[in-house]
C-alpha cells in the first residue's frame, strides 16, 4: 500500500525525523493561511500517488502567501500528468504547503526488503533528486548498499560508514546516523517494504528529507491499523478496491476479454496466452484458493461491470479449489446476472469431471475448452464474431 507524501512526512515526524514545516490543505484560502504561518517562501506540492510531479507542474515555489494562493488555485483540481501517471493523469484534490529549504546538495536514501539477500538493505547515492533507476542504468557505481541483519538491526557504525562514503561533513554525519536509525525503526515497526527519501538534502549542518515515499506490506496491515487508515480510496482503481473487499486479486487492463482464473501464476499465464493468440485481456483476476459460488458471483459481477468486456474466459486448475463448486458458481452467476456475452470455461484438476457435467447439463450457452490454449482461441473467436 502506498501513502501520500504528507502522510509519509507525518510518520517521519512521529519517529523523530526532522522535516520542513508544512501542512496538507484542500483549498487555496487554506494554502495562503498556512504559507503566512510558515513565513517566507513555500513550496506547493500536489498530493498524488505518483512520482515525477514537478515535471507535470505539480510542484511549484511561491514567495508570498498571496502567490501560494494563486499557485494552489492552479494545482487544486488539475489533471496532473507525470511520467508515472499514464497519459490520462491524476486529478489533484489535496496539496501540501511546505516551507522552502536552502539546498546545498541532494542525496538519495532508501531502506527496502532485499529479496536476493533476505535482509533489509540501505541504498544511498550522492546522485539525489533524480530517478534512482536512471542512476542505476548510467552510473551503477554511485549506488552504495549496506546490508542489515534483521535480527541485529542497524548499527551506528554502518550508518557512519555510509555517511562518510557519501562525503558528509562531521556534523552532518551525526545527524545522518540519527536519521538512518529512526528511519530503520519506522521501517521495522510499520512493516514497510520500501522507505525512500529522494532527495535527502544537505542544508548547512542539517540533513533534511525533502520528499518521502513509503510503501507498506499489505500482508501486515492487520497489525498496523494506523497505517491501514492512511489508505486513500481516490488513488485506487474502483474495481481493484471492490475486488479487494471480496478477497479477490484484481488488476484492470484495457482489453475486451474478461478473465477469471485461480492462482496468480496461472492468471498471468492466461493473460499471456490471450495476447499470444491475438486477443487483449480486460483484467487480471485471481479468485484464490477458496473459490465458491459466492466468490465466483462477485468475480463475474466485477468482470461484467467493465463495458469493454465482450467475452469471459474462465481458466481453473483445481488444487485446493474444487472444480464442481466453481461450476455451480458459474451457473448461478450466469442465471442471476443474465450474462449476455460468450463464456468459455476450462476446468481441470480436482473434481473437473463433475464440474464439466454441471456446466453441460445447465442448459446455459457455455463453451467448454480443453486446455488453456484451446480456451484462449475459443474466446477470441467468440469476441470477434
Amino acid at each position: 500500500m502506498n501513502v501520500h507524501e504528507y502522510q509519509a512526512k507525518g510518520l517521519l515526524r512521529d519517529f523523530g525525523i526532522e522535516v520542513p514545516p508544512g501542512r496538507m490543505v484542500t483549498t487555496p484560502g487554506e494554502a495562503e493561511e498556512i504559507a503566512a504561518d510558515i513565513g517566507g517562501a513555500v513550496v506547493v506540492k500536489a498530493q498524488i500517488h505518483a512520482g515525477g510531479r514537478s515535471k507535470g507542474g505539480g510542484i511549484r515555489l511561491a514567495r508570498t502567501p498571496e502567490e501560494a494562493r494563486h499557485v494552489a488555485e492552479d494545482i487544486i483540481g488539475m489533471q496532473l500528468v507525470t511520467p508515472q501517471t499514464g497519459p490520462e493523469g491524476k486529478r489533484v484534490q489535496r496539496i501540501y504547503v511546505e516551507g522552502a529549504s536552502e539546498i546545498d546538495d541532494e542525496l538519495y536514501l532508501a531502506l527496502l526488503v532485499d529479496r536476493a539477500t533476505q535482509n533489509v538493505a540501505i541504498l544511498a547515492s550522492t546522485e539525489g533528486g533524480v530517478e534512482i533507476e536512471e542512476v542505476a542504468a548510467k552510473t551503477p557505481k554511485k549506488i552504495l548498499t549496506v546490508q542489515i541483519d534483521p535480527l541485529v538491526g542497524i548499527c551506528d557504525y554502518q550508518a557512519r560508514n555510509l555517511g562518510l562514503d557519501l562525503g558528509l561533513a562531521p556534523a552532518q554525519v551525526n545527524k545522518f546516523i540519527g536519521l538512518v536509525r529512526n528511519l530503520y525503526r519506522l521501517f521495522m515497526e510499520k512493516d514497510c517494504s520500501l522507505a525512500e527519501i529522494n532527495p535527502l538534502i544537505l542544508s548547512g549542518d542539517n540533513v533534511i528529507p525533502l520528499d518521502c515515499k513509503l510503501n507498506f506490506d499489505d500482508n501486515a496491515l492487520r497489525r498496523n491499523p494506523d497505517v491501514a487508515q492512511l489508505r486513500d480510496p481516490d488513488e485506487e482503481d474502483e474495481r481493484e478496491r471492490e475486488a479487494a473487499e471480496h478477497d479477490l486479486s484484481w488488476v484492470s487492463l484495457s482489453g475486451n476479454i474478461g478473465c477469471m482464473v485461480n492462482g496468480a501464476g496461472l492468471a498471468m499465464a492466461t493473460m499471456d496466452i490471450i495476447k499470444q493468440v491475438g486477443g487483449e485481456p480486460a483484467n487480471f483476476l485471481d479468485v484464490g484458493g477458496t473459490a465458491d459460488a459466492e466468490r465466483v458471483g462477485h468475480a463475474f459481477r466485477l468482470i461484467l461491470a467493465d463495458p469493454n468486456v465482450k467475452g469471459i474466459f474462465v481458466n481453473i486448475f483445481g488444487g485446493i479449489v474444487l472444480c464442481d463448486l466453481v461450476a455451480e458458481g458459474i451457473v448461478e452467476a450466469a442465471k442471476t446476472l443474465g450474462v449476455a456475452v460468450p463464456v468459455v470455461v476450462r476446468l481441470d484438476g480436482t473434481n473437473a469431471e463433475k464440474g464439466r457435467e454441471i456446466l453441460a447439463s445447465s442448459g446455459l450457452d457455455i463453451t467448454p475448452a480443453s486446455g488453456m490454449r484451446d480456451g484462449a482461441e475459443k474466446i477470441l473467436a467468440a469476441v470477434r464474431q
Binding site: 527496502l112 526488503v113 538493505a121 534512482i132 542505476a136 534483521p150 525512500e196 501464476g265 499465464a269 488444487g319
Partner: protein, 292 residues
C-alpha cells in the same frame, strides 16, 4: 529416488483447521504417511484418524515426524515455522498465504545456521509420485511417477505444467512449489542443486514469473553447474509494470525483474523457454527426448 523425501518421510500437519483436515485426508488417501497433527489447545484429540498434539515438540517425540505441512493462519505462520525448526523437523512446507514479509525476514535470518529446509510460504508444497508423498495441497491425480523434476513459483501453474507432462506420458520424480512470496525458503537454485545431485531426475521443468531475480540466478547456476536438460516458462510477459514491486526493489538486483529480462537471461544460458504456457510439456519433450 526423489529429492527431500523418500519412503521414510513421516508428515505432521500444523494447523488442523478446515483446510488442514481436508488436505490431511487427501494425503492419507494418496498413501502419504501422515502421522499426526498439531493445534494448540486440541492436544489429545483425534482428527482424520490421527492423534493431535498441542505442540510440535510433543508431536515429534511421539510420532517421529520428520516433515511438516503448515496450514496455520498468516499471523501465526512464522511462529509455526520456527516451532517446527526448534522441534528438529527437517523439511517444512508452509502453505499459508499472506504471511507478513518482515516475519519471513526474521524467520530466514533465524534459520541461517539451521539444517532444516523450508518450502514456501504461499506455496502448494511438495509432491513425490514415486513414494506417494504429498505435503501440501497439490491435486495428486494429475501426477505420475517418472524422471522429471518440477520446480515452480506458482501453485496452479505447477499443476498446469505437470498435467501437460503427464498427458505426454512423462512422469515426475518430485514436484516443488517454492511459493510466490518475496522472501521464500528454498530458491530455484537450492532445488536445482538437489535435482542435479539426484540420479533418478533426468530433466527439470522450471516455472518462473516476474519480480525478483531468482530466474536469473537459476540461469547462471544451470549454465555453470548442471549437465541435465532444464526448460523454463516465465509467466507475466503481459503484466503491467509497477503493479507488484517497488522500483527500488528491482534496482538492488541490477535492474532485473521483467519477464523479458528473465527470458533473455535464461536463453543466454542455453535454457529453452516455452513460448506459451500451453507448451511447457512439449518444450521439455523436445529438450529431453526419450525422458519419461
Amino acid at each position: 529416488m526423489s529429492i527431500l523425501v523418500d519412503g521414510n518421510t513421516r508428515v505432521l500437519v500444523q494447523g488442523m483447521g478446515r483446510a488442514g483436515q481436508q488436505h490431511t485426508n487427501l494425503s492419507l488417501e494418496y498413501g502419504t504417511n501422515v502421522v499426526g497433527g498439531v493445534t494448540p489447545g486440541r492436544g489429545g484429540q483425534e482428527l482424520c484418524g490421527l492423534p493431535v498434539y498441542d505442540c510440535c515438540r510433543d508431536a515429534v517425540r511421539e510420532t517421529g515426524a520428520n516433515a511438516s505441512a503448515i496450514f496455520v493462519p498468516p499471523g501465526g505462520a512464522a511462529d509455526a515455522i520456527l516451532e517446527a525448526v526448534d522441534a528438529g523437523i527437517e523439511l517444512i512446507c508452509a502453505i499459508t498465504e499472506g504471511v507478513p514479509v518482515h516475519d519471513m525476514l526474521r524467520v530466514r535470518a533465524a534459520m541461517r545456521d539451521s539444517d532444516a529446509r523450508l518450502i514456501g510460504p504461499n506455496c502448494p508444497g511438495l509432491l513425490d509420485p514415486v513414494h506417494k508423498v504429498r505435503i501440501g495441497i497439490a491435486p495428486y491425480p494429475i501426477f505420475r511417477p517418472g524422471s522429471v523434476g518440477v520446480v515452480s513459483r506458482s501453485g496452479t501453474l505447477t499443476y498446469e505444467g505437470v498435467n501437460q507432462l503427464t498427458e505426454l506420458g512423462i512422469g515426475q520424480t518430485t514436484c516443488i512449489g517454492i511459493g510466490g512470496d518475496p522472501i521464500p525458503g528454498l530458491s530455484f537454485v537450492d532445488v536445482l542443486e538437489l535435482f542435479q545431485a539426484d540420479p533418478e531426475t533426468r530433466a527439470v521443468v522450471m516455472i518462473g514469473e516476474i519480480g525478483g531475480s531468482a530466474e536469473e540466478e537459476a540461469a547462471e547456476f544451470v549454465q555453470s553447474q548442471m549437465n541435465k536438460p532444464v526448460v523454463c516458462f516465465v509467466a507475466g510477459v503481459t503484466a503491467p509494470p509497477g503493479k507488484r514491486m517497488g522500483h527500488a526493489g528491482a534496482i538492488i538486483s541490477g535492474g532485473r525483474g521483467s519477464a523479458d529480462d528473465k527470458k533473455k537471461a535464461l536463453e543466454k544460458a542455453g535454457i529453452p523457454v516455452a513460448e506459451s504456457p500451453a507448451l511447457i510439456g512439449e518444450t521439455l519433450k523436445q529438450a529431453a527426448p526419450g525422458v519419461s
